[in-house]
């Protein structure tokens, strides 16, 4: 059995050796470095840094599901923007046979590369169009994208020779990260790089993102913020354990919904007004634009008195960047830049 | 026998039904029905199932609108069909066949419904005595606080009758009132109606398919078949074996009740004639 190296150069801090789980899907003895936080386990017993392309089959634990990739995937279907953008960032546009359920336009730097990728569905694709594409790997942004009523049950897809992978940040239930961090996100990039046989590209991507992240200026004082995604009657906001919290932490913002152990949560207006955040981050989506939210805040007499509204301290961020992915560091940089423009000092 | 030939001459105070018709999808359920009977009498409306008895009663109280040209139900010199709905409901009351009720309604509440035509939106008091009288007259006073749903068929019939009486009608219509009653209750009912007529000069029209009851207890009889009046007149003269054979398709023999001397009908299937 072939083996590949697992050298998570960027993740040593969170993936100390010796915390290995067991690989359920293969009979091979398990050792090596494990990205334990995601409950994902490499099934490889030896490490050779240049075996990536030939190190198949690879088995990883993904959202509690054992995924085995037995050859280098060359026909990849990406569901959701985060999935497609990670593949583009890894330079794999030519191996992506289709994309689906995109949340917004692809960022400019990848637009050319993405132009030839067919979008098979604006919503969550169903089983038949997926099978018709004859993919060998599906990378999905949400667990719900891989269900009998969407792309298909993961077990049945596997039986049909289609491996599937869900962004570990989006795992639900027991596999859900207790609190998402950038190192966890980077280890996802590494894991995908390994599955796709582009370990070097992944390592380079992580290194670059780490560098950018380290360069993000942090606020020099306590600044509270609300991350408002959608919902107008009852706002749907970033909670205390997901990507919004991770990104806010990176710039030194204090999330007023940090106490809610959810990635996203509904939050009553009363508690928002009571906490009176210094800044409001507005997610800009085609279905719930930032300007619409701004208008709502200014129209309601109670929210119009919020400090952030009175002093027009709004930060906007495109929806695809609000989910954990290759644009998360960008989102942090973007927010830091907007905060600086609003006059917040940083150190 | 020709329709109305045996009918008595009527005065302005009597009941005169004229030209009532009702069609559903081109089928005449009631076809140009006319008859006259004196006020203060009990008229039996007889005929086989589907003869149009229930429909005729609904036409007479305006619950259904007659399709007929020049339809009229004259009583006391007034055409009931030209009255306002409310005025009509104060003049004519209908005791329907067993009606079901989903709600928890007490007998008194059910009877109080009969006062609806008398009420205005701003006031409704002063009806208690009428309701008490109606309950008593119908023999339902003992259950005033019971739930209608807990009553037997005969008891419910009395409640429905009490509701109709609470309307203080001049004309009382009853649709197959004996259907769910045992023999004693049937006799009670007719005694009750007779008593009401005696005391209040009420005019009563009862749809029946029990010929014996009709012959025994009515003053006049109107025979319907296929929506048309095929005979009418004084009871029991208006009905003979030939008519019964034509309308009901059975042989009938009349014998005298040893007590009252009134005729009692004995039925046989056609072809089983014994005498």
């Amino acid at each position: 059995m072939a083996v590949i190296a697992v050298a998570l150069s960027g993740c040593n801090a969170v993936n100390p050796p010796g915390t290995a789980g067991s690989a359920r899907a293969t009979a091979s003895p398990t050792s090596g470095v494990v990205s334990q936080v995601f409950d994902s386990t490499s099934a490889d017993s030896a490490a050779t840094s240049d075996a990536a392309a030939t190190g198949y089959p690879i088995t990883v634990q993904n959202c509690g599901f054992a995924v085995t990739v037995d050859h280098r995937p060359d026909r990849i279907l990406a569901i959701k923007s985060t999935s497609l953008e990670l593949l583009l960032a890894l330079g794999l546009a030519d191996r992506v046979v289709g994309a689906a359920f995109l949340d917004g336009p692809v960022p400019a730097q990848w637009r050319d590369a993405a132009s030839s990728i067919p979008v098979i569905s604006t919503g969550a694709p169903s089983n038949e169009p997926v099978l018709g594409l004859d993919p060998d790997l599906i990378i999905a942004g949400w667990e719900s994208n891989l269900a009998p009523d969407t792309a298909g049950d993961r077990g049945r897809l596997a039986a049909a020779g289609i491996a599937s992978y869900v962004s570990p940040a989006a795992c639900r239930g027991a596999s859900q990260p207790k609190k998402l961090t950038f190192p966890m996100l980077f280890s996802e990039f590494e894991e995908v790089g390994r599955l796709l046989g582009v370990r070097e590209a992944a390592t380079a991507l992580v290194a670059q993102q780490q560098e950018e992240l380290a360069a993000v200026p942090k606020l020099d004082r306590r600044v509270t913020a609300l991350w408002w995604s959608s919902g107008s009657d009852t706002p749907y906001v970033g909670g205390g354990i997901g990507a919004p919290e991770m990104v806010m932490n990176a710039v030194g913002l204090e999330n007023i919904a940090a106490g809610v152990d959810q990635t996203w949560t509904s939050l009553g207006w009363e508690s928002i007004i009571e906490d009176d955040p210094d800044v409001i981050i507005l997610v800009d989506a085609s279905w719930s634009s930032a300007s619409k939210k701004m208008r709502l805040l200014e129209q309601n007499p109670a929210t119009a008195r919020l400090t952030a509204v009175r002093e027009h301290r709004f930060v906007t961020i495109p929806f695809p960047a609000s989910e954990a992915g290759v644009r998360s560091v960008d989102a942090a940089r973007d927010i830091a830049r907007q905060l600086a423009a609003l006059g917040f000092g940083s150190r | 026998m020709t329709a109305a030939s045996a009918m008595p001459a009527v005065s302005a105070h009597d009941l005169s039904v004229h030209g009532l018709s009702y069609a559903v999808r081109g089928k005449m359920l009631v076809d140009d029905v006319s008859f006259d009977v004196p006020a203060g009498t009990l008229t039996a409306l007889i005929g086989p199932n589907g003869a149009g008895k229930s429909t005729l009663l609904r036409l007479m109280n305006g619950a259904l609108a007659s399709n007929g040209e020049g339809a009229a139900v004259m009583l006391g010199g007034r055409d009931l069909l030209r009255l306002s709905r409310r005025e009509r409901a104060k003049t004519v009351a209908l005791v329907e066949q067993q009606s079901t009720i989903e709600f928890a309604v007490t007998v008194r509440e059910a009877v109080a419904l009969g006062r609806i035509p008398f009420r205005r939106w701003w006031a409704g008091a002063g009806d208690d005595r009428v309701i008490d009288d109606a309950l008593r007259l119908a023999g339902a006073g003992a259950w005033a606080d019971r739930q209608v749903a807990t009553l037997s068929g005969g008891e419910r019939q009395r409640v429905t009758l009490a509701r109709a009486l609470a309307q203080q009608p001049r004309l009382l219509l009853l649709d197959e009132p004996t259907n769910h009653l045992d023999i004693a209750a049937q006799l009670d009912l007719f005694a009750l109606l007779r008593d009401l007529i005696d005391r209040t000069h009420l005019t009563v029209v009862v749809a029946l398919h029990d010929l014996s009851a009709a012959l025994n207890d009515s003053d006049y009889v109107v025979v319907l078949s296929g929506g048309r009046v095929v005979a009418s007149g004084v009871t029991p003269d208006a009905v003979d074996a030939d008519l019964i054979r034509r309308v009901y398709g059975v042989e009938a023999a009349f014998v005298a009740d040893p007590g009252s001397g009134r005729p009692v009908v004995i039925f046989r299937r056609l072809g089983d004639v014994g005498d």
Binding site: G123, I273, W287 | E109, A110, R136, G139, D145, R146
Partner: protein, 373 residues
């Protein structure tokens, strides 16, 4: 013949009339079970209690919320606003009390009253204790309108769209019911179920087809019911509609009584059955349409409260409707207070709360209803 009369109990004779209680009825009456409902003093007490509980509930509920504002401060704030004096609280907290909590509590009261009264009217018209406005497809129609406006970007406000959807659904239901033959309770309900199923399908289709990212969040409130969008505009709309429709409705309530024994009985009591039915159905459409437009589809209120009211005060609608309005308002205020505070700072759609609270109560009502009849 005279012999027959002699052995009768003569229930009608004046001499025995006073003794009707001893009247030996041929069909032996079962042990007379007196109804448990209230009359006289105790009944008046129910209305006094309901009429005092409602304003008390408004005052208390305004004092409850995730922001810890003392109840005395809350009341002072309300009084200050009413009297045109400066608020004792900071502008932000003043906004929480006056613009957020008070508008929400007042809207909840009007919506609860409207839904409970609508349910009572629907039950009377269809002679079905299990009926409520939702049975006629009103809520699903309203949801179609609201969701279409939100998802397709139809250029009208979701509230107006919900209202139009409710009216369209009612019209469709009645046209369908009439095309099946003369309008009857069962035909109306069957038509309502048909329209409702269609509306749900259209709503699901719109959501399925258009959902992007987390846009379904915007729709969730319409489907599960929420009063979180309340403001002074919703207070004005909900109270105006409830008062303008509710008061004449109570005054004309005895027409509803006439429907208890069916359409023919109602017609025999002088009611213009067809006209009355259309008027009442239109009234229900307006009340329900308003409620759904303001707060989304909230179930169980229209089902539970009329049944509870009937248990207490009998079936006369002049008694039922005011009690339904008062109790529905109070019920909704407290259920919504639970929805916004139990899991604060998170919020629960109030429709979930009404179902959680309402379903067991309704089971109890059913059980009692059964044991009595």
């Amino acid at each position: 013949m005279t012999s027959t009369r002699i052995r009768l109990p003569v229930p009608s004779a004046p001499s025995v009339a006073e003794g009707a209680g001893e009247n030996p009825m041929p069909a032996t009456p079962r042990a007379s079970r007196r109804s448990s409902r209230l009359r006289g003093g105790p009944r008046a007490a129910v209305y006094v209690a309901a009429a005092t509980t409602l304003p008390a509930s408004v005052l208390l509920a305004v004092g409850i919320g995730s922001a810890g504002i003392g109840i005395i401060d809350v009341w002072q704030t309300v009084v200050a606003h009413l009297a045109g004096m400066p608020s004792p609280l900071s502008p932000l907290r003043d906004g929480i009390v006056w613009d957020i909590r008070l508008t929400r509590v007042l809207t909840a009261a009007a919506v609860g009253a409207a839904l409970a009264v609508s349910g009572a009217v629907m039950q009377a018209l269809t002679r079905n204790v299990l009926a409520d406005p939702y049975l006629l497809g009103l809520s699903s129609g309203a949801s179609v309108g609201a969701v279409a406006a939100l998802m397709l970007g139809v250029a009208i406000m979701p509230t107006v769209a919900a209202f139009l959807g409710a009216l369209a659904a009612l019209t469709l239901t009645l046209l369908l019911a009439r095309s099946l033959g003369p309008i009857s309770p069962s035909r109306t309900i069957l038509a309502g179920i048909t329209v409702s199923a269609f509306g749900v399908a259209v709503t699901s289709f719109l959501i399925f087809w258009n959902v992007q990212g987390d846009s379904y969040r915007e729709v969730l409130n319409w489907l599960m019911g929420s009063l979180a969008g309340s403001g002074w505009a919703t207070v004005a709309v909900s109270w105006a509609v409830t008062a303008v429709i509710g008061i004449p409705l109570v005054l004309g309530a005895r027409v509803l009584d006439a429907f208890a024994f069916g359409d023919t009985a109602a017609a025999s009591l002088g009611i213009h059955v067809t006209r009355a039915r259309w008027i009442f159905l239109a009234v229900v459409a307006l009340l329900t349409g308003m409620a759904v437009a303001v707060s989304g589809a909230i179930g169980f209120i229209g089902l539970v409260l009329p049944n509870a009211a009937r248990l207490l005060v009998g079936f006369r609608h002049r008694l039922i409707l005011p009690l339904c309005a008062l109790a529905g308002a109070t019920f909704m205020i407290w259920v919504d207070t639970g929805a916004r505070t139990l899991f604060a700072p998170r919020e629960l759609p109030v429709g979930i709360m009404t179902a959680l609270v309402g379903a067991p109560i309704f089971a109890l009502v059913l059980w009692r209803h059964r044991s009595r009849s």
